[in-house]
């Protein structure tokens, strides 16, 4: 009977997980926040009250007011508009670097877990080497070696994240490849790639999704940090990290210039972390009730 139950979990597995997630109020709140952020980013052209690079030298360093809800910066640019446009870059970098890291890391993990032996050893030792370098430091050196820019920023962050995903995927592949249905798939003459992509990966999506949500927060933070250091997005393109960086010299006199981009980063990261936590609970069959 226990086996039946185990199967039963996989049952409308995603349906069940969604049901459990819906019951988790904070996770749902985080999800709504994120969706709102994404909509803001997509519709920035319509929502933002000003152009993000519109300079107005009559109104520099203004505190929040009716005209400029979040004030203006040292060039008289509207902070709210810059933050709204900035969400585009942050979310884009977050999503695309995580997706790139999942694809490459996942592939490496799946291959090394499935084939085992020498392949596993070589790939995993390479991952260990990457892991031995602190992620931030690796991203900084990669970003410095490549030229600053959106695409290179994504690459730098993705490479630093690959080992984590490779490990997660490898671990789940190791447990799944010994299942009898994998043997059964071999028995009907399925090729290795078919077994990996069709039979193994769909069964280990849950941990990957959780890792991805939590990792996305990290990626956005790294993007902000790199931009803060001047290695990421270059001005005048608004990016939360680079906004913080250019505002830091005025932090004593014009608090609003550092506070609002910081709050934007915080809200996004917080929402992603809460959602990630909620997903981990929702996708963990043992917590099912």
């Amino acid at each position: 009977m226990s086996k039946r139950n185990k199967k039963g979990l996989k049952k409308g597995f995603w349906h069940d997980a969604w049901h459990r997630l819906k019951k988790n109020k904070s996770a749902m709140f985080a999800l709504i926040t994120l969706v709102a952020l994404i909509i803001c980013a997509i519709l920035a052209d319509y929502i933002a009250p000003y152009q993000y690079d519109l300079q107005d030298y009559n109104h520099t360093f203004e505190f929040p007011s009716k005209q400029h809800l979040l004030g203006t910066d040292n060039f008289g640019r509207d902070m709210l508009s810059r933050i709204i446009y900035g969400s585009r870059i942050s979310l884009l970098v977050g999503f695309s670097s995580i997706i790139a890291a999942i694809i490459f890391g996942g592939l490496l993990g799946a291959v090394s877990g499935y084939y085992g032996g020498k392949v596993d050893n070589i790939l995993m030792r390479a991952m260990d080497i990457l892991m031995a370098i602190p992620g931030m430091l690796l991203a900084i050196s990669l970003a410095a070696a490549l030229k600053p820019g959106l695409f290179n920023l994504v690459i730098a962050i993705a490479i630093a994240d690959i080992p984590g995903y490779a490990r997660v995927v490898r671990a789940s592949v190791l447990t799944i490849k010994d299942q009898e249905y994998i043997e059964a798939a071999q028995c009907i003459g399925a090729s290795d790639s078919r077994i990996i992509f069709r039979h193994i990966i769909p069964n280990c999506l849950a941990p990957i999704i959780v890792q991805a949500t939590l990792g996305m927060a990290g990626a956005i933070l790294s993007a902000s940090a790199l931009s803060f250091l001047g290695l990421g997005i270059q001005p005048p393109t608004p990016e939360w990290g680079s906004m913080l960086s250019s505002a830091r010299q005025y932090i004593r006199t014009y608090w609003h210039m550092t506070t609002f981009p910081g709050v934007a980063i915080m809200i996004t990261i917080f929402a992603l972390n809460v959602l990630g936590d909620g997903l981990r609970d929702a996708l963990d069959p043992r917590l099912k009730n």
């Binding site: 039963g8 996989k10 049952k11 249905y181 028995c187 090729s191 069709r198 769909p202």
Partner: protein
């Protein structure tokens, strides 16, 4: 007669650093086209290893096929390329697994799992393979509308029928059924066995049925091979084995089946345990448990002896009577 498969001197070992487990030792087996063979033996006798060996699926490491040939359609399955082997698996030889609960992928619909094997081997379009998969579902007595359901929505017996549908979807020439009914209760067992027997007859498939249930063998099989410690100890037709039981081990097996008519408080088991396959006796592997043991068995391993036409026994007690 035309033989579908010939296994010659198959030897499979599981090697670890500390010890070598001799799972299958010089196994010889032939099966004629259209016939069914029951491979009977207790747990750990090497039955499943033999079946996996035929499929080329011995987990390596630690498993190694150290010797032997498996001739299927004139080719040695142990020597052909991995790619070629894949065209044999599922298409020419397919396998039914022991536990229907774990042999289906929980995240793929039942129908797609049947269609998958068809799509791999028959080169049909997606739509056509779906139609064929539905036909297979109905053939095993499950309504075609349930195509898009997931394995957890099926009962154990139905899952086993789905597995049978997958195994038979490409009209294989040889079916390896590895204890197909062990995980099912008795009424479902009968249904599943009937279904296998019926489909086998319709498609003229040969079958190796692995089981430890002598009653099941009588229902479905033409030939019986009794396996003990990685060797076949007795081989013959149903009548040979059931009416003229020769090998002491086979006698012991029949002796341990309770008799419905007489009253017995205790079962009558064969004393002792299977020898440790990592440390087999020097002579006949059954000698330590054998009540008919003669001095010779301790040191020499007997050869197969033909006691009557088509009935082989691996025991010194029959050497005089038969021809070696």
């Amino acid at each position: 007669m035309d033989n579908i498969i010939e296994i010659k001197n198959l030897t499979i070992q599981y090697k670890t650093d500390e010890r070598t487990v001799e799972a299958v030792n010089g196994l010889n087996l032939t099966l004629a086209r259209g016939e069914s063979l029951g491979l009977v033996g207790e747990t750990g006798a090497g039955k499943t290893t033999t079946a996996l060996g035929i499929m080329g699926l011995i987990p390596n490491p630690p498993g190694i096929v150290t010797d032997g040939e498996i001739i299927f359609e004139g080719e040695d399955l142990l020597k052909i390329s991995k790619h070629k082997l894949r065209t044999v698996r599922g298409k020419k030889i397919s396998m039914i697994f022991q536990d229907p609960m774990t042999s289906l992928n929980p995240v793929i619909t039942v129908g797609d799992q049947i269609a998958e094997s068809i799509r791999i081997h028959e080169k049909l379009s997606r739509a056509n393979s779906t139609i064929k998969a539905k036909e297979m579902l109905e053939l095993v007595g499950i309504p075609g509308e349930r195509y898009a359901e997931y394995p957890h929505q099926f009962s154990g017996g139905m899952k086993q029928r789905v597995i049978i549908a997958i195994a038979l979807s490409c009209n294989p020439e040889l079916l390896l059924a590895d204890e197909p009914t062990t995980a099912l209760d008795v009424t479902i067992q009968a249904q599943v066995l009937d279904l296998i027997a019926k489909l086998k007859k319709e498609q003229n498939t040969s079958m190796i049925l692995i089981t430890h249930d002598l009653g099941v063998v009588v229902e479905v099989c033409d030939k019986v091979a009794i396996m003990y410690a990685g060797e076949i100890v007795e081989y013959g037709s149903l009548t040979h084995i059931y009416d003229n039981t020769c090998h002491p081990y086979t006698r012991g097996l029949f002796g341990s089946i309770p008799d419905l008519e007489s009253k017995a408080d205790r079962l009558n088991p064969i004393p002792g345990l299977m020898p440790d396959p990592a440390n087999l006796p020097k002579g006949c592997s059954f000698e330590p448990r054998c009540t008919y043991s003669c001095g010779k068995c301790k040191t020499n391993n007997p050869h197969m002896v033909e006691v009557e036409a088509g009935h082989f026994v691996k025991c010194f007690n029959f050497v005089k009577g038969g021809k070696e």
